[in-house]
Symmetry: C2
Subunit: 201 residues, 2 copies
């Protein structure tokens, strides 16, 4: 394997979702089809590097020419509810549901003693500032449903209560995913699905 | 989704093995971790574009400063046998087996009426020239074992016979893959494994 291709495989295999094998395949395809694959990717990386930045308000990705981002300035969206997520990718998933029309706030991660993520590394102070500047009546916490996510949600709730903000704090419901079978569900999910069972369906 | 990220997802999703979903994940990771992910990939693509070329002799990838490539000039390799493959990636797989120490010749594809790949698009004339210039006694055809590969192998065999080259033409054995079960094998493979059964194992 020549050195530049080995370097390309190495750079590609660092991406999430690409193993060594698929990185090799992608690298050879890039070299073989430079006009169709390599050059557009090279251009796109350069553009992303030069044009993308984080929205000063919500923390999601935007372009330098639109800061605050479109989501933050869209007059059709509801200022009274802010959905708190870990990463910009979570916004894409939530937007895909079509069920949320409020504003977003990106934390940039979740609390994790193992990965040395303390509250000072998350955009929590920015969230408090946003709430203090008015408009929001509800904070919907949409973080992971694991132990670190639970700790993050609990911490944010206590900070907002401590700040005397007066906003309601909610969290996404736990239960069975749509289109899943009972037999394949884990015990913890089933326990939550039973305790949160609904008569209104 | 801001435009530069959408463009990056589009460029990534063209790569083999990356669906829309993993391309999105990779794109967001690239934007988030520019120092660790985006910049090395950008540099590697630029280097690959500027330094990688095809070996004038075998057609595999090499760097401009080494042409013919290392495989073609390595004095430890056997000049008397040339292994014919479709793509440079096939060489990596064959080298991984450790069972071949001859030279290689890359066709650049296989015959395919559907994809408009005629013999003039494959490096067959170059193969005939190599054989005419002497040294090779055997041509081992290592192309796909599908209909298009069969047609390609047959075509090369007839060209070499027509050219009166006097080289022997061989092809990789067909049979069961190692570590596989009979129950999972397809009928055609089993038929070949039976007809080519060996008493010498």
């Amino acid at each position: 394997m020549v050195e530049p291709i080995a370097e390309l495989i190495e750079a590609l295999s660092r991406l999430p979702g690409l193993g060594r094998r698929s990185a090799s395949r992608a690298a050879l395809a890039l070299v073989r089809e430079q006009l169709r694959l390599l050059q557009p990717l090279e251009g796109a990386l350069k553009r992303a590097k030069n044009e993308v930045c984080c929205c000063a308000q919500c923390g999601a990705f935007t372009v330098r020419s639109e800061n605050p981002c479109k989501m933050c300035t869209d007059p059709a969206r509801d200022d009274s509810i802010i959905c708190v997520v870990e990463e910009p990718s979570d916004i894409i998933a939530l937007e895909g549901s079509g069920a949320f029309k409020g504003r977003y706030h990106v934390l940039g991660g979740k609390l994790s003693p193992v990965r040395k993520m303390g509250p000072e590394k998350l955009r929590i102070a920015e969230l408090v500032d946003r709430i203090k500047s008015g408009g929001a009546k509800e904070i919907l916490i949409a973080v992971s449903t694991d132990m670190e996510g639970d700790a993050t949600a609990g911490y944010i709730q206590s900070v907002l209560e401590g700040a005397g903000s007066g906003v309601k704090v909610s969290r996404l419901a736990l239960g069975l995913p749509v289109d899943s079978g009972i037999a394949y569900s884990d015990p913890l999910t089933l326990r939550r699905a039973i305790s949160s069972r609904t008569f209104d369906f």
